[in-house]
């Protein structure tokens, strides 16, 4: 899936960008699913997580996001708020209603970092709220902390 919009071929070492992952580092091969429609952002997230040993899946829309979560059974979801189709909040609400995903760690990413958005994210059940733009190190630390590694 050439999802970066640059027309370039992905490096061979990356494998399938939706499911590529490594076995070492803090991640130990645990799976993180990135639901983000901005291809270059998900590309960067995928890279920094994979380098830390996480297996990373990418889904670029609100459509079918719940199915992707069920199919990939990630240890953590990084979820953008503004998505085509269902919004990040819609997806989060659905996750919290299902017993199997009620406790799944979810990092909510949004371009709006005000108090209102933070309160909304907390009420919706986000494990953590991060405003864009974010520092890679902060995102990585948050993933490690929420999964407990």
């Amino acid at each position: 899936m050439g999802h970066d919009g640059t027309g370039l071929t992905h490096p061979a070492t990356a494998g399938d960008p939706r499911t590529s992952g490594g076995g070492g580092g803090h991640g130990g091969g645990r799976r993180v699913l990135v639901i983000e429609d901005e291809a270059n952002i998900s590309e960067a997230i995928r890279f920094i997580l994979r380098r830390d040993g996480w297996a990373v899946g990418v889904h670029d829309s609100g459509h079918g996001a719940l199915d992707a979560i069920e199919a990939q059974a990630p240890a953590l979801v990084i979820l953008d708020v503004m998505l085509p189709g269902d919004s990040g909040f819609d997806i989060l609400h659905s996750l919290r209603r299902q017993p199997s995903t009620a406790a799944l760690p979810v990092i909510l990413l949004t371009a709006r970092g005000g108090h209102g958005a933070r309160d909304h994210a907390r009420e919706a059940g986000a494990s953590l709220f991060m405003a864009k733009p974010f520092a890679n190190a902060d995102l990585l630390a948050a993933v490690r902390q929420l999964v407990g590694v």
């Binding site: 919009g5 640059t6 990356a14 270059n40 590309e43 864009k132 974010f134």
Partner: protein, 457 residues
């Protein structure tokens, strides 16, 4: 009944400025020194005749001592007092004294208060735009997304010395694409803000329209002319008061409506029966009779009456229109009928009573809590806003016409409804309809109890 401190305080200040003793002024005015002393200390209200004599003795126009002359300023000072810091309240009960003794300073405070209100309104509108303008929101989202991508990608490039050359190439290409996207989004945002700059004017569109109508005495002669519909864009296009496109659109809509009202109620046909109603022995003002005679609805008649040119023997009417949400959509003031600039008005207005009883005409004698209190006969009605339609959304509108009670005979003074402008500046502290505390703490109006059916004048 509380006494206004305005006249007494002014007399004392003016007498002192002229280095006149109290006894001297009393002699010149033909009153006793003890009586003048009571007046100066606001313990007695001087009769108009005595005020006239004192003004003559002080060599000033009698109007300068008119208690109602500074009322608007006093009201504004009270409203401004709401800005006082917690723990350091302004002496609202001495607003009249301030106005009487230091009219220049009082005027300056009122001016600063008005200016602050206008700036707050601008900030509110800009905040609304930031929060709700879809174009702006989309632009900002695009910029934040591109900036996020650039920041994360460049951090990888900067911090990964052993980066695989192929990955490095991918990230370089991504940063290049995002930098172009960022530049385009920023350029589009600047162009958008430039093109909508006129809408950052201080006044809201409705205020611009009302200011424009007020400047013309609320009568636009052009609506009396012509038979068919006309394009009002040329007329509203060159008006300095109508600075924004939104206000010009609102004004054009108002003019089209006013023209339809004028056709249904031609001035030449309306004036004779209207004047007859207000003439001595004329039978009294009966808007329902006029509506029947011309075959129009009451709301249309109210709009027409409130925007007629000045007619001898006919009072000036006040008018308030609101939509189904209760938001005032037109405010045509008349002396003694104070209108809120921001937020909702007094919930006891018959306008709102009509809104919950569609198609039922209401009439009530209301008294506004001013100094002096002013009475009006209010006629109100609510109904579907034209044009009628079968498909939603269904829009509702209420209209309230205010006629000064002084212009009418036979007004029922036993069932007067005490009303105010808005809760924030209303002194009727015990009112059951109150939705927020009043900032006016002292020196209330005729009645402090909005639940009572009548008030003591």
């Amino acid at each position: 009944m509380p006494k206004s401190a305005l006249s007494g305080t002014r007399i004392r200040a003016l007498r002192n400025a002229r280095r006149l003793g109290q006894a001297d002024l009393a002699r010149l005015a033909g009153v006793s020194a003890s009586y003048l002393n009571l007046i100066e200390h606001n313990r007695r209200r001087a009769t108009p005749k005595v005020l006239e004599a004192i003004a003559e003795a002080l060599q000033i126009p009698a109007s300068a001592l008119d208690e109602s002359a500074g009322e608007a300023l006093v009201q504004t000072l009270r409203a401004a007092a709401g800005r006082a810091a917690p723990g350091s309240p302004a002496e609202t009960e001495r607003a009249e004294e301030l106005t009487g003794r230091f009219p220049g300073w009082a005027g300056l405070i009122a001016l600063l208060h008005a200016r602050t209100e206008a700036l707050e309104r601008t900030v509110e509108r800009l905040s609304d735009r930031m929060a709700h303008d879809p174009n702006l929101s989309a632009s900002l989202h695009e910029i934040v997304s591109a900036a996020t991508s650039v920041q994360s990608t460049t951090a990888i490039l900067a911090e990964s010395e052993d980066l695989d050359p192929q990955w490095r190439a991918v990230f370089h290409a991504n940063v290049h694409a995002d930098s172009i996207r960022l530049a385009s989004a920023a350029e589009a945002l600047v162009a958008y803000l430039d093109s909508t700059g006129e809408d950052t004017a201080l006044a809201a569109p409705q205020e611009e329209v009302e200011s424009w109508l007020d400047r013309q005495g609320w009568h636009v002669a052009a609506v009396e002319e012509g038979e068919g519909p006309r394009d009002w864009s040329a007329l509203v296009g060159g008006q300095a008061d109508l600075a924004s496109a939104a206000s010009r659109e609102l004004a054009a809509g108002w003019l089209a409506r006013a023209q339809a009202d004028a056709r249904a109620l031609p001035l030449s046909a309306l004036e004779p029966p209207l004047r007859a109603m207000f003439a001595t022995g004329g039978g009294g003002f009966a808007p329902e009779a006029l509506a029947r005679q011309f075959g129009v609805g009451l709301a249309q008649l109210f709009r027409r009456l409130a925007t007629l040119p000045p007619l001898s023997g006919v009072p000036r009417f006040g008018l308030a229109l609101c939509d189904g949400s209760g938001t005032l959509t037109l405010r045509r003031p008349v002396e003694g009928f104070q209108l809120p600039r921001f937020g909702g008005a007094c919930p006891l207005w018959p306008l709102y009573q009509a809104l919950v009883q569609p198609d039922r005409p209401l009439r009530a004698t209301v008294e506004f809590a001013g100094r002096p209190p002013m009475r009006f006969v209010a006629h109100a009605v609510a109904g579907a806003r034209d044009p009628l339609r079968f498909d939603p959304p269904f829009a509702w509108e209420a209209a309230m016409l205010l006629t000064p009670a002084s212009a009418l005979t036979g007004v029922d003074s036993t069932a007067v409804v005490p009303v105010g402008t808005a809760c924030r500046v209303c002194p009727r502290t015990a009112c059951g309809a109150r939705r927020e505390p009043s900032i006016i703490t002292g020196g209330g109006a005729a009645s402090a109890d909005g639940r009572s059916g009548s008030v003591d004048l």
